[in-house]
């Protein structure tokens, strides 16, 4: 990033109340007010969002793809966390 380039913000949109927020893309903006306005103009020109989150891109933390395997590994072998692990002879659970 050069000195003049505005910081990068990741944009999340909620389509309707009750739905989860979804990553839409990113915008550049000098501050949070303009980040919100830019996000609205870029990612919701047709009512695609009823709410918006903008987050400074460098505040987002995630595992690297190299780590991802071992990072998620502890939960991969616990099939008893799924309902179809259990035998329920004859009973109707529908």
């Amino acid at each position: 990033m050069s000195a003049s380039e505005w910081p990068l913000w990741e944009v999340f949109t909620q389509r309707r109340a009750g739905l989860p927020f979804e990553h839409a893309g990113s915008v550049h903006a000098p501050d949070k007010e303009m980040a919100l306005q830019n996000a609205r103009d870029v990612y919701s020109r047709r009512g695609e969002a009823t709410c918006l989150w903008v987050v400074p891109a460098d505040c987002i933390v995630s595992p690297t793809p190299e780590e991802a395997g071992s990072f998620f590994d502890p939960s991969n072998d616990k099939i008893y966390r799924h309902p179809n692990f259990y035998k329920t002879p004859g009973a109707n659970f529908e």
């Binding site: 990033m1 050069s2 003049s4 380039e5 505005w6 990068l8 839409a24 893309g25 990113s26 915008v27 550049h28 000098p30 501050d31 303009m34 103009d41 870029v42 990612y43 020109r45 047709r46 995630s62 690297t64 793809p65």
Partner: protein, 316 residues
């Protein structure tokens, strides 16, 4: 853990592509893949941005308030398209400043179509119907490509293009129901924009240096000629529907292939326009550079304001 060699990594990468997996920004990818995507995506984004100029030319002269509101909304969408794709390009590790810099110095290219002038109001119809029509065919294919951020930007764009496409057709359909002069104006516009629209799909397959690699990596799913054919097949019936003809005396329906066959494309013209010798190349680049330079004080002022506010919050 075993450290994989470059070749092994590349093999694994190709396996992922062949299985139809989607590549995300932090995944390992060959340097060529990254470079090709940066080239293609930034070129695409620049085209969206330059594309605003020929249409912007008619905003103040739109024939009615309805047409003016529509054209404004369409041009604003194109700015949005540019920004979706710039944002996607940055996920490949190149800064916005660098991408813009390559554009303004003329190092990066943009679609040849926007170097043609918009001489009459009918050209706004022709652009929406033909140019956005061609863009839809292209972008629908790109939406299934292997790089996640690019494909997702395409999905977003495709949702908006149908409006662009139809408003252009409506303009032409209205002119074709008008006076003799209006009908001639519509036809003249198609005569000028038809061939350049076909060129938008790029060189013929046997002459497209990047195609094979891009198809191997599923950045592209179809060849230039296939997409061009798809565009022609769906556009000709729409033209006939309102009494327009296309300026190709060799165009005919082939009952055997169930496709239209068309005449030879003037690739000399295409190469001239791509290499800076089109009618409006200089004008377009000047408009972009002026906009960038004249906007510099706004960017600086906004930065200064943000810094001032931040230091106040710290002091408080």
């Amino acid at each position: 853990m075993k450290i994989l060699s470059e070749e092994e990594l590349e093999l694994k990468f190709q396996e992922r592509i062949d299985k139809g997996e989607i590549i995300e920004p932090k995944d390992w990818m060959p340097e060529r893949y990254r470079k090709q995507l940066i080239r293609m995506m930034s070129q695409h984004a620049h085209s969206e941005i330059v594309g605003m100029l020929p249409e912007g030319n008619w905003i103040t002269r739109a024939p009615s308030l309805r047409r003016k509101a529509v054209l404004l909304a369409k041009v604003q969408d194109e700015a949005g398209h540019g920004l979706y794709i710039y944002s996607g390009t940055e996920t490949l590790g190149i800064s916005r400043d660098q991408v813009m810099g390559d554009f303004l110095t003329g190092k990066a290219k943009y679609s040849s179509i926007f170097n043609y002038p918009t001489l009459t109001w009918a050209d706004i119809g022709a652009i929406g119907w033909l140019v956005d029509g061609a863009a839809i065919v292209n972008q629908t294919a790109l939406a299934k490509g292997s790089y996640g951020p690019y494909a997702r930007a395409m999905v977003r764009i495709c949702k908006e293009e149908n409006f662009h496409h139809k408003q252009g057709y409506e303009i032409l359909a209205t002119l074709m129901k008008g006076s003799k002069e209006q009908r001639e104006m519509a036809q003249d516009s198609i005569n000028r924009f038809w061939w350049p629209s076909l060129m938008m799909f790029g060189p013929s397959d046997n002459n497209s240096p990047n195609s094979a690699e891009l198809i191997k990596w599923k950045v592209k799913k179809y060849s230039n000629d296939e997409l061009r054919q798809r565009f022609i097949d769906r556009t000709i019936p729409q033209a006939e529907n309102i009494g327009l003809t296309v300026p190709d005396k060799d165009l005919k329906w082939d009952e055997e292939t169930r496709h239209y066959s068309h005449g030879e494309i003037n690739w000399v013209e295409f190469n001239n326009v791509i290499n800076g010798r089109g009618i409006c190349n200089k004008e377009r680049m000047k408009a972009r550079r002026d906009a960038h330079e004249n906007g510099a004080w706004v960017r600086e002022a906004a930065n200064a304001y943000a810094r001032k506010k931040a230091s106040k919050t710290k002091a408080a």
